[in-house]
Amino acid sequence: MKTEMENNEKKVLEYELFGLKFKNPVWTASGCFSYGLEVARLYDISQLGCVVIKGLSLKPRKGNPPERIVETPAGMLNSIGLQNPGVEKFAEEILPELKKYDTKIFANVFGEDEEEYLAVAEFLDKTDGVHGLELNVSCPNVKKGGIAFGSDPETLYNLVSKMRKLTKKPLLVKLSPNVTNILDTADACVEAGADGLVLINTLLGMAIDVEKEEPILATKTGGLSGPAILPVAVRMIYQVYEKYGSEVPIIGVGGITTTQDALQHILAGAVAVQIGTANFYDPYAPLKIIEGLKSHVLKKEYEHYLRLVGKAHKLKIK
């Protein structure tokens, strides 16, 4: 009797998406978990639904000079500059270790131009142990005068459709919130054949040192993350879900520290959530949220957490 109950308890968070079986809907966000191995020294990362690794480019990237981070009210700015060892070195040196953990691994993909994006995706498509791709389109497009890929629907459409042809692995696009209308870029990705959308990346911001009378970050501006951006993420998820419903899976990210925060994302329409900045100040946050979601679903007497997805819209979910 008890084991049956325990089994049911476990099952309330299990789900299948993009043909993959996830243990639970709690993922870790790219750039906020390195490549997972540092955290594996703190706890068993097999408990996570999915690990989205730090962004990978084709060639190694040095990243930006310091200062790279600054604390802001209920948040932080970062301008890491996508420092990474390059996709080949990742596959050779890091992935074999990471693969040992029983969780899903999604790779965050980016490039300075379309060719680089596609080359990374092509490489990862053939890389065993990487279950899916998350396209980071918040980077400046060098060939287009530095306008971010993610802010121009046409550029985005071209990129995503070309990438779609390159890979059969689940292809998610992580949208930038630094746009006038999130539906424009969301539409472009859906039309181009993306399997799902990840909302949201960081918001562009700046902090100034009033003693030195200059911006604190070496790059002047940086991406805002943390609790401060929670309502922005929830609103954007709500907007996209309102249009597409359960047709287009949404992965929510932005400002989640607690189970309550994660529930807001889910009720707005996210089928899974990613934990980012919270890992820095509360390393066990993802584990607490897994437990918290389970208790919430049981307390509310739902047979499965999927019942909650998009519920704030008062729509009937299939």
């Binding site: 750039g31 540092e38 020294r41 703190l42 790279r68 948040g75 420092q83 900045t277």
Partner: protein, 260 residues
């Protein structure tokens, strides 16, 4: 293996200048800590988001199950810690850092500037326990900033530490570099261990280069996580021409191999 623990505060009191002393019951961390190990502390409740990030502090001493931290109070993170009372708990992540001072030298010259001395005090204790030969230098601007003076006396290091104040209000008058060349070249197979303000570390590292003596610095930098996952705390590794994490590849570095 680092742990995130709610530690009981044994003592949290003002010492002098802007420095406070925090004594925490942290047996797991005490067991793992090495000289230059540090912890990340969050002085507010879990549901409070401003200040958001933890603050980094060196483990200045280990006393049985307790760890001691000497902290200077500047902004909202450190102010929040001062409001915590003995008997309450506080969130501590540690012991952190993966690279420490080399152990194979015959003589050590420790150079601590201001609160940076708290980054060397555990090394000093360790050297003494191992019967190794060392000289320690502790420099500040004014007498009130000698916040570790009582600790030095209570722990019997009075004769091991040369004290400098810039204004001459205590000990010798001048900067830590004043007699450093003489001190550092006195013994064979000597290394310098340095922790303090950026300008001071740079000055000592430059001198070390001139007189060709190995120099190891325990660095500070803005940290969001302290355990390697944000890549925010970097310093330039001039050998590899890449950025390395102070919290993970450090906090101790060979000064000749990084951009100070």
């Amino acid at each position: 293996m680092a742990l995130d623990i709610k530690c009981e505060i044994v003592e949290n009191r003002f010492i002098s200048g802007i420095t406070w002393l925090l004594r925490l019951k942290a047996p797991e961390i005490a067991k793992e800590a090495k000289p230059a190990s540090f912890v990340m502390i969050r002085g507010v409740e879990d549901y409070q988001y401003d200040p958001l990030l933890r603050r980094a502090f060196a483990i200045a001493d280990i006393d049985g199950d307790d760890i001691l931290i000497f902290y200077d109070v500047y902004g909202k993170g450190t102010k929040a810690i001062t409001e915590k009372k003995a008997g309450e708990t506080i969130s501590v992540l540690g012991a952190l850092g993966n690279n420490f001072f080399p152990e194979d030298y015959d003589h050590y010259v420790l150079v601590g500037g201001g609160i940076g001395f708290a980054g060397l005090s555990l090394l000093m204790k360790d050297l003494k326990q191992k019967g190794k030969s060392f000289t320690a230098i502790y420099g500040v601007r004014r007498k009130e900033q000698l916040s570790m003076l009582d600790w030095i006396k209570e722990n019997g290091f009075e004769n091991d530490v040369i004290i400098y104040t810039e204004d001459g209000s205590y000990g010798k008058k001048g900067l830590v570099t004043e007699d450093l060349e003489k001190i550092a070249t006195k013994h064979h197979n000597t290394m310098l261990a340095v922790c303090g303000p950026h300008g001071m570390m740079k000055a000592v590292a430059n001198l070390a280069k001139e007189i060709d003596i190995p120099c190891y610095v325990s660095l500070e930098s803005r940290m969001a996580c302290g355990f390697g996952i944000c890549i925010g705390c970097v310093v330039k590794d001039t050998e590899k021409d890449s950025y390395v994490r102070v919290c993970y590849e450090g906090p101790v570095f060979d000064a000749s191999k990084i951009e100070l």
